[in-house]
């Protein structure tokens, strides 16, 4: 399956689609917010065109069909035949969504294609395309069919060449004469001349002649060489750009001569053209044409650059600037992971070597010691560079949000402005991939529950337009993401009432404001009295909290009544490393993930209370938590708790489900950041252990799986129980 080269190419195609869809959305957004120029349209068009091109190669018919309708419409806009009105942009936004859905469907995701929506958007696109071409009937009569997909008659009018403003294009060519000689490289890159010719035939009736003059005898035929060429007479008059687009993906991999048909006598034999490449007259003509058509692709890269200064400035997502096009390569993540592993090991080896040198009693000024110091610096630099390979700006996630905001705003009838900050903040790709869901949910929540409707805002003396702020920043080796609104803030009385009603807290539980605010993270809590389509769907903030905890992160809320709320998530920069507390239990060095640690303290004998035959509770801030002996839970030999009395240290931990308990350990040796190593690579999952890591001395230490430990400790309980216990 994975070894099928075709599948691999397809996977790459879908990866590209993701990027292209993001580009498309960004450009359409730019159109919407008004800070776009004609280049933006071209860039958007190219994104759709590229998706269509790939889809055609893979035979993804539905996708091709839709992309084609979309592309046709955009072609109208970019040629200036049709104004880029507000309505047009709205339809393009919807079409971008549907295109993304099509890609997802082609990719085999579970999300079924909403055919009604697709039909609706297609109808809109076609209506706009047709409705704004008053001269269409005339054009239809004059020219051959428009380039199109499987349904030729639905958009039977012709883009006319002079509309493109490409001054050098001949006024009214009757057709095109094309000489196409693929280089071997064209085939090596996976292109198929037959597909290209087929694509060309969509522009109109073609007379294709195979030129096999260069074909040597079988005896000298070389493997890997390519000797064929084709002469094509296209008996239709699409604009030259349309013809060139067919060859867009093989640009530079072939000799291509495109000349208007009307220039010579129509009856001129194709044979005359065969000489074209070597004929100076013909050779210069195509060069001029290329010069004429070149600006379009070149300009495509510009909007990114021009949008850059506006990036982070707020406003719509349209200002999310892309980096100017840089050379980049696609590398399999596995390869990078391997590199990161090896570099991690290099760092450890280097530290061990340095330790040995110190132990050998060499002077600090010795050449070996000095050399080692340099090596250490280099090693660190390598490590940082390698980690940076995986780091990506959070922009990839942030730029999906403006659409979400608009959609939710429309559904709720609220007026919302999204302000984004720190889109350039970088974080590991694995983290990025999993950020979208919690952020999406938090923004939905902020609009649905946080912001008031415009009337209420007016009454409260606020701007009727609510502001959602989405910000990212680095803070002490972690990435912090904040979602804040300027809405009504958390209605603590109501939250409390609901929590009591749902049995989550006791009616008379004494809770601080902060504790009340955090009740919304409890499983089963939702303040919406009706399960709305927006933030409802049966999931609440507890799901958000859990998905963030799975990333080794934490979430908190700060709310001021009447002023708004701020959700703050703090996440590690990469999933490959973990902040851990180094502890000792049962003679072993273990790591407790810091994200699960609430607090640690040395309990007094009076803090411990036996309950039942085996269980021990520990007093922690006027609450009693089950105390779990770490070594015993892991099956390591350990002194029984009662014998050790109050010795040892209690670490209060919180499971992903919000359950708190205390782990007893023999000692704490500080905190450190460690590289996570899977146990499953060479072994199997081990209960109570989530992974392993390698310490500075080269030894393996196990990372505790707090959730599993709590259940290994055979304590059941919910946060509510714990609260009730107080």
């Amino acid at each position: 399956m994975a070894t099928d080269p075709f599948e691999a190419i397809k996977a790459t195609y879908f990866l590209e689609c993701e990027e292209l869809l993001a580009d498309l959305e960004r450009h359409v957004m730019a159109l919407e917010s008004g800070d776009a120029d004609s280049d933006t349209l071209h860039a958007a068009f190219r994104a759709v065109h590229s998706i269509k091109g790939g889809a055609g190669a893979f035979g993804l018919e539905d996708l091709v069909r839709f992309a084609h309708v979309f592309e046709t419409f955009m072609d109208e806009l970019r040629s200036g035949r049709k104004p880029c009105s507000e309505q047009a942009v709205r339809v393009m936004l919807a079409a971008s969504d549907v295109l993304a859905d099509h890609v997802a469907a082609a990719r085999g995701s579970n999300a079924a294609l909403d055919h009604a929506r697709v039909a609706h958007v297609v109808a809109d696109l076609e209506a706009l395309t047709a409705g704004t071409a008053p001269s269409a009937p005339g054009a239809l009569a004059a020219a051959a069919p428009e380039p199109d997909g499987p349904a030729p008659d639905e958009f039977g009018f012709t883009p006319v060449a002079f509309d493109f403003g490409l001054g050098d294009a001949p006024a009214e060519p009757q057709g095109w004469r094309i000489h196409f000689k693929p280089h071997p490289r064209l085939l090596e890159t996976g292109n198929d001349p037959a597909l290209i010719l087929r694509e060309l035939a969509r522009l109109g009736p073609c007379d294709v002649t195979l030129d096999d003059r260069d074909l040597p005898g079988v005896d000298v035929l070389e493997d890997g060489a390519f000797h064929l060429a084709w002469d094509i007479v296209l008996n239709a008059a699409p604009p030259e750009t349309a013809v060139r687009e067919v060859f867009e993906f093989v640009d530079g991999f072939c000799d291509l001569v495109i000349a208007p048909l009307g220039a010579e006598a129509e009856a001129e034999p194709v044979a005359a053209l065969i000489e074209a490449p070597s004929d100076p007259v013909f050779a210069t003509a195509p060069i001029q044409m290329e010069a004429a058509s070149a600006p379009a692709p070149a300009r495509a890269a510009e909007p990114a650059a021009s949008a850059k200064p506006a990036a982070g400035g707020g406003g719509g997502g349209g200002t999310a600037g892309a980096a100017p096009s840089q050379t980049s390569i696609r590398v399999d993540l596995d390869r990078i992971d391997k590199l990161i592993n090896v570099v991690g090991e290099l760092v450890i080896q280097q530290a061990m070597l340095a330790q040995s040198v110190v132990e050998s009693g060499l002077a600090r000024s010795s050449a070996v010691s000095v050399g080692l110091e340099d090596l250490e610096q280099l090693t660190r630099e390598i490590q940082e560079s390698v980690m940076a390979i995986r780091a990506q700006p959070v922009k990839a996630v942030f730029q999906r949000m403006p659409r979400l905001v608009r959609e939710v705003a429309e559904l709720t009838g609220k007026s919302v402005r999204l302000v984004t900050e720190g889109e350039g903040t970088e974080v590991d790709k694995t983290v990025i991939d999993r950020l979208a869901e919690p952020i999406t949910h938090m923004i939905r929540n902020a609009i649905d529950h946080g912001l008031e409707d415009p009337d209420a805002r007016r009454r409260a003396g606020k701007d009727p337009e609510g502001v959602i702020r989405l910000a990212a920043l680095h803070r002490s080796g972690r990435i912090v993401i904040e979602v804040s609104d300027d809405g009504r803030g958390i209605n603590r009385d109501r939250v409390r009432a609901i929590a009591v009603e749902r049995g989550l807290i006791a009616a008379d539980a004494p809770l601080t404001n902060e504790e009340i605010d955090n009740l919304i993270f409890l499983p089963g809590f939702s303040t919406a009295s009706t399960v709305s389509d927006i933030s409802g769907r049966g999931v609440g903030m507890d799901v958000v909290k859990r998905s963030i905890q799975q990333l080794g992160g934490r979430i908190s809320i700060a709310s001021t009544p009447g002023k708004g709320s701020t959700f703050t998530m703090s996440l590690p920069l990469t999933l490959a490393v973990l902040d851990g507390m180094v502890v000792e239990a049962g003679g072993q060095t273990l790591l407790a993930p810091l994200s699960a640690v609430v607090e640690s303290f040395t309990p007094k004998a009076a803090d411990l209370h036996r309950i039942g035959p085996t269980e021990t509770l520990i007093r922690f801030r006027d609450r009693f938590l089950p105390l779990i002996d770490t070594a015993a839970a892991l099956g390591f030999p350990a002194a029984p708790m009662q014998q050790s009395g109050a010795r040892g240290i209690a670490i209060v931990v919180e499971s992903e489900g919000g359950m708190q308990a205390a782990l007893r350990v023999d000692g704490i040796h500080g905190q450190r950041q460690v590289v996570i190593k899977s146990l499953e690579t060479n072994y199997t999952k081990v209960d109570g252990v989530s992974a392993a890591t390698i310490l500075g001395d080269g030894r393996v230490a196990l990372i505790l799986d707090v959730d599993a430990l709590l259940s290994l400790g055979k304590r059941a309980g919910t946060p509510a129980d714990l609260r009730l216990a107080s």
């Binding site: 592993n341 090896v342 991690g344 090991e345 450890i348 072993q588 892991l634 099956g635 390591f636 190593k677 899977s678 146990l679 690579t681 060479n682 072994y683 199997t684 081990v686 209960d687 109570g688 252990v689 392993a692 390698i694 080269g698 030894r699 393996v700 230490a701 196990l702």
Partner: protein, 153 residues
């Protein structure tokens, strides 16, 4: 008693000692041989899994072969070695007393494992090879870790 066969059919086996007995495994399954270093014990694992060590950044489980074969747990010292073997996608370290030599064995030399062998042993032995006065058991490393085997199936 040794029949001459074509070299293609001969197998190269690595001979080693564990639990006081001699064994051999297909040399192609061996990735490397390294000295013993203390392993970090894993909780709740079979007693023959001594724990994990750091093999150039990878976490390598160590199986005490003697214990696995029911020959008693090994008390490793500096002379013991770890044979790193490849089992499917995974690498596993086998703790053994010593590796001795590489044997080239023709199929005719291999005799089926006798019925008398204990269950533990029987399930892991692919055959026996008499050599001079010695007797070596051919071990199938793929069956050493039951859970690994189950997942590979």
């Amino acid at each position: 008693m040794t029949t001459i066969t074509s070299p293609e059919q001969n197998r190269e086996l690595m001979a080693f000692r564990a639990g006081g007995q001699e064994f051999c495994v297909d040399i192609m399954t061996i990735r490397e041989i390294r000295g013993w270093s203390p392993a970090t014990p894993l909780p709740r694992t079979p007693s023959y899994v001594r724990g994990v060590i750091n093999l150039r950044g990878a976490i390598l489980p160590i199986v005490d072969l003697s214990a696995r074969l029911g020959l008693g747990a090994c008390e490793p010292d500096g002379r013991h070695v770890i044979m790193v073997v490849q089992i499917g996608e995974r690498a596993v370290g086998l703790l053994v007393e010593a590796v001795s030599e590489i044997l080239i064995i023709s199929p005719a030399e291999v005799q089926p494992a006798p019925e008398i062998a204990s269950d533990d042993m029987k399930s892991l032995i692919r055959g026996i090879v008499p050599r001079d006065s010695r007797l070596l058991s051919i071990l199938d490393v793929h069956l050493l870790l039951p859970e690994v085997n189950a997942e590979a199936a």
